[in-house]
Symmetry: C2
Subunit: 432 residues, 2 copies
Amino acid sequence: MSVLVGNLLVVQTGGGTCAANASLAGVITQAGRYPESIEEIYGSLNGFTGILEGRLIDLQEEQQSTIRALRHTPGAALGAGSLTLDFNADSALVAQQTTALFRVLEANNVRFLITIGGMRTMEISRRLHELARQRGYDLRVIAIPKSATNDIPGTDHSPGFGSAARVVAHTVREAELDMLGHGEPGCSIVEVPGRLSGWLAMSAALARRGPDEAPDFILVPELGVDENALVQHIQATIERRGACSVVVADGVRNPQGRPFLAETVQADSVGRRLAEFIGESIGYPAYVYEAGRLPFHAARLASDTDLKEAYELGRDAVRSAINGQSGFMLKLKRESTSPYKCTNSLVLLEDVVRARYNRLPLDQVDLARLQPTEGLRQHLLPLIQGDPEVPLDENGLPEFAQLNKVLVEDLIQALEEEPPTEPANPEPTQAA
Amino acid sequence: MSVLVGNLLVVQTGGGTCAANASLAGVITQAGRYPESIEEIYGSLNGFTGILEGRLIDLQEEQQSTIRALRHTPGAALGAGSLTLDFNADSALVAQQTTALFRVLEANNVRFLITIGGMRTMEISRRLHELARQRGYDLRVIAIPKSATNDIPGTDHSPGFGSAARVVAHTVREAELDMLGHGEPGCSIVEVPGRLSGWLAMSAALARRGPDEAPDFILVPELGVDENALVQHIQATIERRGACSVVVADGVRNPQGRPFLAETVQADSVGRRLAEFIGESIGYPAYVYEAGRLPFHAARLASDTDLKEAYELGRDAVRSAINGQSGFMLKLKRESTSPYKCTNSLVLLEDVVRARYNRLPLDQVDLARLQPTEGLRQHLLPLIQGDPEVPLDENGLPEFAQLNKVLVEDLIQALEEEPPTEPANPEPTQAA
């Protein structure tokens, strides 16, 4: 392994979570420990868009206290950016974009590229790793998974998920109390994000300590749910225990694979459609609690296990890059569930991208009762443990980190002065 | 004052909050301290409906630990009940209902009636106090205010409000981080409950520490908001600071007094309508975060000040009844804002009912910037202070009280056996 000396660039993409900034804090802190290899620590504002636009900030200009506060600050402090490199675009555009991007990386002597993101980020990271090799540019690319809905394959679970799961479990318990507070038999419906994946919805079951506790039924996109059968089960449950609690992932479908109740009832959301359908067909009131993206950011209800894992993945991503690795995603590998122990190791980005999707194991779902099996429950339970310490400000509200965002001005001027010449031998890429 | 000996009955109505059960805990705990006056402590299941149906539970059958846990348990543990006595109904029905109700009270020797609720509860409590006097039945009625939207007059503020306000302020800060995490200029819209009242929406301003922080604009039902002017302000804000945060009470109206944007854009909620309108008219993305009723129940984000005040009002309600008072609401009286100090005192239910509504003081709203004045901000700030201690269960989730709900069986049988005779001289009541 040659000793590589240069700058480190960290990129966040695809929207924030409770844990995405913890990974960022891990990267920045660890990068500062290799002054012999890493000269500057840059962050790209707004994901890959920021690189293309040369909008890099100097993370060494941030205060230590800000970096520490990132560990409990939700969101994506660098700004995720909507434009990502689309390798399905026509090859001329792809070549133009990647050329521009490498021009910035090379102009800045970026040798260590750490990305924090979801599946599109994994795909882009893999491509950049390959393109660097093709160009003969020594660049080490390590990706850190980030997904509140746990849809990234190749890792036991993704940072951001445990916190969102914990908030959803909280929410289900509190929504049930709200519903019961009305004092009349009825149904609570908690709608959670999950267009493709039922992981987050399934985690709501962690709120349940007995058979007559919320949630009674969990609807996930992986299963076609029969609308009339469901409502009969809801009716039977209300008549038995005076209440019914349903958790619904927003991507749930009917057995024909079409959006749930979309052809039967008109409303903006699946939760509202279900509430209306329940009212019309069995006459009980149903109350909708739309979690939206707020569970992705409910800092004080986050899982400390999640935040710590995210931080350590950030730290180890830098270690791996320093150790000469490239083209990998850092993954969590479960060593033991009880006592819970995960270690960090590497998985080829190529394998992650090929697997495409972290499927909910349907053999771990009790299909008759729409609940996780005890095995899946035990798998999920450690991920929501621990209460993070979030300092409160003078108003009694959580105190979050705010980056100074000092732009790397010199670089920008250098780029502006330099004529945008194409490299002698641009590498066209193929559409995926 | 004669020494009155009998049973105490506590009633919750009108949906739960973070603090309604803290008041209940205060009532139960204090009631246990007067064994010479209070023989049994009953709770009505499902508000006044429960009295009519003779569904009373024996609160002395609950464990001490359950009563203690009520102090941080959201909702309405007794069940609020949808049927309330409607004094606007025809007088024959009212006479029938109140006769039935007094039959239960008298059969149970209920001499102390403590109610926890909103404006309809104040109205019913006042009537029951009057009817008891007319019947010559010695009954002491004391009401405790409960309103997450702070719409009860006659008190500095209502229990439940401070906690909901704190959660809304949290939410606004976290929704802004989510929006900023996208990395592109845009708008966040937090929709909060407030059909008639802007108190809760206004409290979101407590999240704001500087001019370029969330929330930028707060839309309250008390003001007619011009839709086009607002969108221009939003545009200017996005162009200045890259983001705009709007808080909207769901009852907001346009200057013609009609529901906001309802005639312009179709969507299920005012937040979604505003998001669509922003997208269509200025082209920026807007993200909607619907708080719904969840802030009323977010136990771990509640205000400890609020929970303590609610508990102490419960305690003092019993004291007042024991001291011979009846026909009063317990109110919070602000002695000082800095340092914050409220004391409890009594206000005639008649005066509360006459005032009808706790208006947002519009002279305390900066109409140009749609923000509270510094004075209103200082008024609200103490109400959201303090972090409640909420124990976590073995799954890392908040542990809430669950009542055993042991029905007072003997009574129910006695009632069933007794023929439903009308009293010799029923008191017809007048429609209000």
